[in-house]
Symmetry: C2
Subunit: 313 residues, 2 copies
Amino acid sequence: MDLNLTILGCHSATPRANAFPTSQYLEINNRHFLIDCGEGTQRQMRKYKIGFSKINHIFISHLHGDHFFGLIGLISTFGILNREKPLHIYGPKGIKEVTILQLKLSKSWTKYDIIFHELSSKESEVIFEDEKVTVKTIPLDHRVYTNGFLFTEKPKLKKLHIEKIKQYDEIEKCDYNNLKSGKDFKLSSGEIIPNNQLTLEPDTPKSFAFCSDTSYKPDIVPIIKDVDVLYHEATFLKDREDLCEKTKHSTAEQAASIADQANAGKLIIGHYSSRYKDIAEFKKEAETVFSNVELAEAGKRYSINSYPIEILN
Amino acid sequence: MDLNLTILGCHSATPRANAFPTSQYLEINNRHFLIDCGEGTQRQMRKYKIGFSKINHIFISHLHGDHFFGLIGLISTFGILNREKPLHIYGPKGIKEVTILQLKLSKSWTKYDIIFHELSSKESEVIFEDEKVTVKTIPLDHRVYTNGFLFTEKPKLKKLHIEKIKQYDEIEKCDYNNLKSGKDFKLSSGEIIPNNQLTLEPDTPKSFAFCSDTSYKPDIVPIIKDVDVLYHEATFLKDREDLCEKTKHSTAEQAASIADQANAGKLIIGHYSSRYKDIAEFKKEAETVFSNVELAEAGKRYSINSYPIEILN
């Protein structure tokens, strides 16, 4: 498993019986991230069998309700489930104050640590990095301070070419890590076996960009250039570009234009306004500009283990 | 329509795929009240077709998440729906601060007024009163400051006995209000027709008591004496009375004992702990003490227009 994305909610503004606000669950290189957390996210996680204990990092794009009103409930539920591991929360300044106040009022202090990473920079910055994954912000343009997030796998180790390795009795298991990291092997005779004769090229690191909510903002293109999968909001169709300008959202066509300029492998759109009855219209409009478009739908899971990208429902 | 109660959610602690936290919608004498507002309440309101614009008063028992984390989302949605009417919110001190902070962070000031009625008294008090309904608090015993609420119809006007009235040409429509309010009628001859010959007795005012969350607290009995319908939490069965003591909740048997002592017409129980797979056990236990017991279930609607009380699903 390299990269899986599960849509938990993908509609804008207000929850309805079968329309949940934004939340996505990303599995990338064995890291498990929650991105945005609208009201009802924890219920959707239960419904789609997302393990609560796997999540150690939550990324909140902005403080509009449809992107973060579910956060305090999830934090409380982690407490009820006797969580002990620290939880990292990345989001705009203010997220700490409002979370702490709610915990204080309900006298529900968590037994686990919550580490807040409050964001205020208007430039793209690395906010998470370990040996497997890097996360950097994508500054967006919305009515309040908003970031998208770019998740990138770190370059991977080379793969062992076991068949070739077996030809040399001198190469032992304890040498494998050196081979994986690209070193040549020196036989006792002094002969040097070049690394590329003993290994195969590693899998290409994969990447996912999450961009919601934002007006059309082509200056994010260099940040997300060549991303494998781009989620970009498409709140309106181009018949209501006036509403996009007023509310700082994008049309399906604008989302597709960003995907096209960024040379994305695939575009997923969502955050549909409730004024549209048939979301298929969004796909149709986006496809006039960019060919590889998917509609976000709650419960849909995208698996990016191989090309072409597979969709599992 | 006199009194209808719709259960929107009735499970304790954490929302699950098919278990929603506490919220109830009460229609009483043409007033429409929302009682508690756990996460997902607005979604449940959509599902069960509760008109958003009808609600002008929300009563929050306490500030644990499963009773109020859905409030800010509902307030925001009222704003998105262009509400103009003021909204009254009754709940523990602190509810104003946390609501205002969330609106401030999301730059989502409502265009309608929110009037907070913050409660801190440990004695029962009238917190709402108009010409049709009175609402008073029921001080409960929980881990944080908590009130239940008693909703009582005001005494009603007498009904016109049209058949009898028609026998007197002199009685005109403009006299009806005097008759309804109990006045005798004086004919031009000087003869007095006693009111009870021209009218029928009014419907008995009905009442509903909401008690969640609380440990067994028999001193609420005088406040809710002879209530028509009592909702009382039953988080555990009596096998886990130890947990009730620790968490300040009640068993089904204790809820039934309160209903019995208060001479309630009917008892509805809910707020079930997720440790119990079969909620029918709660009814069974309560019925050992009190005969007229119903299990709260999301979407169930109790109509108290007539006796025996009718349940509409």
